[in-house]
């Protein structure tokens, strides 16, 4: 009945051609074609020109900050995300459901809003900043501020990855281990941790990937000093404001390549996580 029978399995349901056609067309027009333009623009540059932009000291400094702060933020989120997920899954306390719902706040909140709000809280005279100031800890307008912003942005990724996997942990196994005399730490290390570690890895990668590209929440709190507190996306914006399209395209291409690497790692980590869950169920 179907001319394209080798391409898809037959079904009585209609609309395959129409829906797939429209989806592919829209995807190509809005996402793929523009991204191809970026790749083509970069390809039109000579190697020397390209390398001069992407390996300039200012660009290298911005990669260091973007990567470093994303890495630290993702690590903070791995630790505290686990603690938060554990608290939400295992303990009942007043306000638990509201807190659980609020974890998604950074998804729904515009990045510019989180940016100015975090700056207000962590500035020298802010609610938290004023207590850190006497110890010589400056958060706003330093790399610490970038890290705090990326921590907020990445938090839901870790918590939402870990929560379902904590529900998978077999409680009777924990009880059995305890009756056999295992210490809580031993139970954590041998029963809970192995079940949760794929989800933690997946949450870490998602938070890290998101942090590298983040712009809105960072620029308000970062200070934006060249070589010091300038993230890579901001450097692209500066190049565009100087009408240096080639420079902007080259840096954009580097970020796009990073996104692809991160997307690939996320898929690999999640495939590994699924295998881990299957193995744990056996």
């Amino acid at each position: 009945m179907q001319a394209v029978s080798g391409f898809r399995q037959p079904s009585v349901l209609p609309g395959f051609g129409l829906t797939l056609g429209f989806a592919t067309f829209f995807l190509s027009a809005i996402v793929l074609l523009p991204l191809a333009a970026l790749v083509l623009k970069t390809a039109s540059m000579s190697w020397a020109e390209f390398l001069e932009v992407v390996l300039s000291p200012r660009a290298l400094a911005s990669y260091r900050l973007s990567f470093g702060a994303s890495l630290v933020a993702a690590l903070i989120n791995t630790v505290f995300g686990f603690i938060v997920a554990w608290t939400l899954v295992r303990y009942d306390f007043p306000g638990r459901k509201i807190l659980d719902a609020m974890i998604d706040m950074p998804f729904a909140l515009p990045t510019a809003v989180s940016g100015i709000a975090l700056t207000a809280v962590f500035a020298e005279n802010g609610w938290i900043g004023q207590y850190l100031e006497p110890y010589g800890i400056k958060v706003a307008y330093t790399w610490l501020g970038v890290t705090v912003a990326l921590t907020l942005i990445g938090l839901p990724f870790v918590v939402r990855s870990v929560q379902p996997s904590l529900l998978e942990v077999q409680r009777d196994l924990e009880d059995a281990a305890e009756t056999l005399g295992a210490t809580p730490l031993y139970i954590f290390r041998r029963i809970i941790f192995p079940t949760v570690v794929p989800a933690l890895a997946s949450g870490f990668t998602l938070a890290f990937a998101r942090g590298i590209g983040e712009y809105g929440s960072v620029i308000f709190i970062a200070g934006n000093l060249p070589m010091k507190t300038e993230i890579t996306p901001l450097l692209i914006v500066i190049k565009l404001e100087e009408f240096d399209y080639n420079g902007a395209a080259a840096l954009g291409f580097v970020m796009l390549a990073m996104s692809f690497v991160m997307l690939l790692s996320i898929n690999l980590v999640q495939a590994w996580a699924r295998r881990g869950v299957v193995a744990a169920r056996r």
């Binding site: 609309g15 609020m102 515009p110 709000a117 207000a120 712009y215 692209i236 991160m262």
Partner: protein
């Protein structure tokens, strides 16, 4: 074991699962750490939005919305969302129908491509349109000849917002529709219903809540997008500044009450989004409970 008889208070209190001192301590340490962490990075900023917005009184808060440019920014944001959200909703439904209802080659690859805007930095999302339609872009000179403005104008803002919020509805619907299966749709088709009727009467009621949440989330992101829109907008005050861009302008002018007042609107939008999500999860758990 010597000295402890089975069933005695000492023995019962040391049984697993009882509230030993260590268990209680662990419990409160975890709750304390969680609350402390969330209070610092999540709750304090949210509270700061409203306290700063209201720091000069309720009258000053409402006065900031009387500003002409603020009004223009709110209208532009609403207009952009009114175009972007329906388009991405139609795309999301089409993509979810094709992907969830049929088995075909390259499905995983297609899903990865749909996810692409999640992985790309918002700045890159804006940059690609500047490279296409900007003055020095691929179509730049043609657009100038025909007097069409895309970059630093409304079309650019709409395109960048479309790109950034592209996957939301599809991402929400695909897992939901895959999980619900094809049985009821196939039954409807074999009983003679048309394709459109099957979708409207059988599929749509089942995916209603997921669709609503996808649309609401897409809308929240569309109204709140900053990076991508910032690149293509040109920041022409009162003309091409959306709400988030207007927040930046006011903030940089030290008009904190105004900036945070606009921010408070977007925060309320985010809160509504989360409430809809909670309602959806409540509906889902009620449906699976029955």
């Amino acid at each position: 074991m010597v000295g402890i008889t089975a069933g005695s208070v000492a023995e019962i209190s040391s049984r697993p699962g009882r509230r030993t001192l260590a268990a209680v301590l662990t419990r409160w340490t975890f709750i304390g750490l969680s609350l402390g962490f969330l209070a610092a990075v999540l709750l304090a900023p949210l509270a700061a939005v409203f306290t700063t917005a209201l720091s000069e009184g309720v009258a000053a808060y409402f006065r900031s919305f009387a500003d002409v440019d603020t009004g223009a920014a709110i209208r532009l944001t609403l207009f952009t969302a009114a175009i972007v959200v329906p388009l991405n909703t139609i795309f999301g439904i089409c993509a979810a129908w094709a992907i969830a209802k049929f088995e075909f080659r390259g499905k995983t690859f297609l899903m990865t491509l749909i996810d692409l805007p999640f992985a790309v930095s918002p700045i890159v999302s804006g940059l690609v349109y500047v490279l296409l339609f900007g003055a020095q872009g691929w179509f730049g000179s043609w657009l100038v000849e025909h007097n069409i403005e895309v970059i630093f104008a409304l079309p650019g803002i709409i395109l960048a917002t479309l790109f950034v919020t592209f996957p939301y509805v599809a991402r929400e619907l695909i897992p939901l529709m895959e999980q619900l299966g094809n049985d009821e749709e196939e039954a409807a088709m074999t009983l003679g219903a048309s394709g459109l009727m099957t979708f409207l009467r059988v599929t749509l009621p089942k995916i209603r809540w997921g669709l609503i949440y996808g649309v609401i989330l897409c809308n929240a992101r569309a109204m709140g997008e900053f990076g991508a829109v910032s690149v293509v907008s040109g920041h022409i005050r009162g003309l091409t500044t959306t709400m988030p861009l207007h927040i930046e302008i006011l903030y940089n002018e030290y008009a904190f009450v105004g900036a945070f007042a606009v921010a408070s609107l977007l925060t309320l939008l985010a809160v509504v989004t989360l409430i809809v999500k909670s309602l959806m999860e409540w509906q889902a758990s009620r449906a699976s409970g029955n």
